[in-house]
Amino acid sequence: MRDFLQTLKSAPPTAWFGMAVIATMALVAVFAPLIAPYGETQIVGAQYEPWSEAFLLGTDNLGRDMFSRLVFGTRNTVGLALLATAIAFGIGSVLGIVAAVLGGLVDRILSRIIDIIMAIPSLILALMLLTIVGASIASMIFVIALIYVAPVFRLARASAQSVVVMDYIEAARLRGEGLGWLVVKEVLPNIASTLVAEFGLRFCFVFLFIAALSFLGLGIQPPTADWGSMLKENATLISFGDITPLLPAAAIALLTVSVNFVVDWMLHRSSGLKD
């Protein structure tokens, strides 16, 4: 615990900023119904009302309270991104480590499949898959998880491979240990920190990706509040010089920047030196 506090103390201002933002957003997501003055899909006024006491950030194209939707959006957008990243991570890292430990044919087959997924640009792949399975929350999570399994697999495999060549893995193999022990007890603890940092980075990508899909009208479907589609729905306001529609996009940017700052600091620490 003392170590942990010591580490926190040594964090640069950028990392502090990042952690503060992440903590705030987490609180907002958890207590969304308590914070938001109105319901998520409740129509409370005329469309495009300006900022006022009643509607902190005005109303949107259907007359719903922008601020409330922004608050609920935290929950929806971030929650969805976390879920998709977690699924991609679970599958990708386990497969990656298994491929590295087993090697041979298993490794080759898995790697080829992943190569092919990686050879198709991800946004195009997502768009095509979504055409096929139709746009819904479940299908989007499935598509994103499928796409992001690939880079996670590659990273997990590469870092596991640098561990697998170590003599202590050979010693464990020669002792007669099974696959489960090798993956969980010998390899995983050594690449955990890399994977955690990667989780942060991938979360950013997934998050931006979902936002882009929603923005294109193919992600989270109305009337659910979501930062990407909120921008799309209210983009007209921008041509009148109003910045309100940019707020959800700014929230997206703020969160990804924060996560990036924290991850960057963690990577620096684990690499030991300044560069």
Binding site: M166, D167, Y168, E170, A171, R173, L174, R175, G176, E177, K185, E186, P189, N190, G272, L273
Partner: protein, 544 residues
């Protein structure tokens, strides 16, 4: 070497030099108030173990400190010039022209994008010492002097097309390009095999004498330094231990630390009665061939190892000695022949072997850093085989771990909860031994177990192994390239060259009267603690 010719003017004087390097917790001293004098034409040996600050001091004599290092105090004067106070431009002009550097790994230090001769000519041409044509002609002449084969052509190759020993000679030639006053040799032969090392040492010494160049020769091997240097400085943790003329130091070292630098050489195996020819050997290899893909690496290898005995397998890189270990442990399946354990054939692959077969054949590895999982505690590392093979749990397991730690002379209370990163190299190697012993094996493979360790620590490990061998009547196989280690631990020796066993027998017999030419050459190539040794070698080769 001839003291009479030496002009007595000082070339390099270092006074009270301290250098610090940045580490995770602030600045650490790498070099600590060192004084050094070097005369023109003199060769000074710098010797010490890893972390002694030899390279840092060597580079400092060029006025160079690596990134993240700084000179805290002291002065470096080269031929009247103050290398600390003068500008970078002055130092830059000096380097390459008047002070040159030969790096440990020539393979990594030559730029892969250019031909060797282009890199050779760069400094004399850029610094305006010679024209391009002159530099090229001179390069070929220097290659001839360095006794490189085909000196007219070798410079037109790329670094990755030339062997390690030849690269090291090319790099020495490059350092000579501007006929510098001083050359820093930073462990130039450490990465080479012994038989190659002799040739490179002879070539370096020859050219340094011919041009009367002063040199600082850095090495961790006292026997090598003794061949090259007029005077030797011993360093430890950045501090000076002692400095003396080479002969004086070898004959009568003042400090105990200096003596410990050849600790392994002082060990000797007690002679034992030859093994009973009728007894079944613990492990025997019978006509083993093995290959990596289509490349055949072992040809018809056969030898036996009896209980309580140590067999050393020696050879240079590429001799197949490590492959022998992989075949015995089942990591590599032989293409022909078999491995027998107590007379019964073992399954060729480790996956097909029973738990008891796996238990009886244990390994100890070369690099203690990679042999132990850094994320496990000592309790986990030693406890796992105890539980896995012997089924001990809870209290019984804990007691067994304590007993094993006592066995390897580490205090259980202090060490049981530590992780490998909190241990020194020698301690880690002891944990490796404990992990092997935990399986209660009959046979242990020791793969270069002391080559990553400093001499005194290595001697301790060898003594420990000898003790546990006696206690448990173990059969040991030592894979090593170091003949001093063979003398220290082995009863029998198997000499390998290019995947074949060229000679085997009791250590005493093979070493005193080698029957095979390669064995003879290998034995002769090991530097001795005698400054005349290299001269004798060169003499013997010329007359041969």
């Amino acid at each position: 070497m001839d003291g009479g010719q030496k002009t007595n003017s000082l070339l390099l004087t270092i006074r009270d030099l301290s250098i610090e390097g940045r580490s995770s917790n602030g600045w650490t001293r790498l070099v600590d108030s060192i004084d050094l004098d070097l005369h023109r034409g003199e060769v000074l040996g710098l010797i010490g173990e890893s972390g002694a600050g030899k390279s840092t001091l060597g580079l400092a004599s060029m006025g160079y400190t690596r990134d993240g290092c700084r000179i805290v105090s002291g002065s470096i004067r080269f031929d009247g010039l103050d290398l600390v106070g003068c500008g970078e431009r002055v130092r830059q002009d000096l380097r390459g022209k008047r002070i040159a550097y030969v790096a440990q790994s020539a393979a990594a230090s030559f730029n892969p994008a250019y031909r060797l001769i282009q890199q050779h000519c760069e400094v004399p041409v850029v610094k305006g010492v010679m024209t391009s044509a002159e530099a090229q002609a001179d390069a070929i002449e220097l290659y001839t002097k360095m006794r490189l084969p085909t000196p007219n052509e070798i410079g037109f190759r790329y670094p990755h097309q030339v062997s390690g020993g030849q690269l090291q000679r090319t790099m020495t030639a490059m350092a000579m390009a501007c006929r510098p006053d001083l050359i820093i040799f930073d462990e130039p032969t450490t990465a080479l095999d012994v038989t190659t090392q002799v040739e490179v040492l002879a070539a370096i010494r020859n050219i340094v004498e011919q041009f009367g160049t002063a040199a600082i020769y850095i090495s961790h091997d006292l026997a090598v330094v003794a061949q090259m240097a007029d005077r030797i400085m011993v360093l430890k943790n950045g501090r000076l231990v002692e400095v003396a003329e080479t002969r004086t130091m070898l004959a009568a070292p003042r400090e105990d630390y200096t003596k410990s630098l050849w600790a392994v050489r002082t060990l000797a195996r007690e002679a034992e009665a030859p093994s009973d020819a009728g007894a079944t050997p613990v492990v025997s290899l019978c006509g083993v061939d093995a290959a990596y893909g289509s490349a055949k690496v072992l040809h018809d290898v056969s030898f036996d190892i009896h209980s309580g005995r140590t067999v050393a397998v020696v050879g240079e890189s590429g001799s197949g000695k490590s492959t022998v270990a992989r075949v015995i442990s089942g990591l590599l399946q032989p293409t022909r022949g078999e491995v027998r354990f107590e007379g019964r054939a073992l399954a060729p692959g480790y996956l097909a072997r029973g738990r008891d077969d796996l238990r009886h054949v244990q390994m100890i590895y070369q690099m203690p850093d990679t042999a132990l999982n850094p994320r496990q505690t000592i309790r986990d590392i030693i406890g796992r085989p105890v539980e896995f093979y012997l089924g001990l749990k809870g209290r019984a397991k804990e007691e067994r771990i304590h007993a094993l730690l006592d066995q390897i002379e580490l205090d259980p209370k202090t060490y049981i909860d530590r992780r490998p990163t909190e241990l020194s190299g020698g301690q880690k190697q002891r944990i490796g031994i404990a992990r092997a012993l935990a399986a209660e094996p009959k046979f242990i493979i020791c793969d270069e177990v002391t080559s990553a360790l400093d001499q005194l620590v290595a001697a301790g490990i060898l003594k420990l192994l000898a003790r546990v061998q006696k206690e448990f009547d173990l059969a040991l196989m030592f894979i090593t390239h170091d003949l001093a280690t063979v003398k220290a631990v082995a009863d029998e020796v198997v000499v390998m060259q290019q995947g074949r066993v060229v000679e085997q027998g009791p250590v005493g017999t093979v070493f005193s009267a080698p029957a095979n030419d390669y064995t003879k050459r290998l034995l002769e190539s090991v530097p001795e603690m005698d400054p005349e040794w290299l001269d004798r070698q060169i003499g013997a080769r010329r007359s041969a």
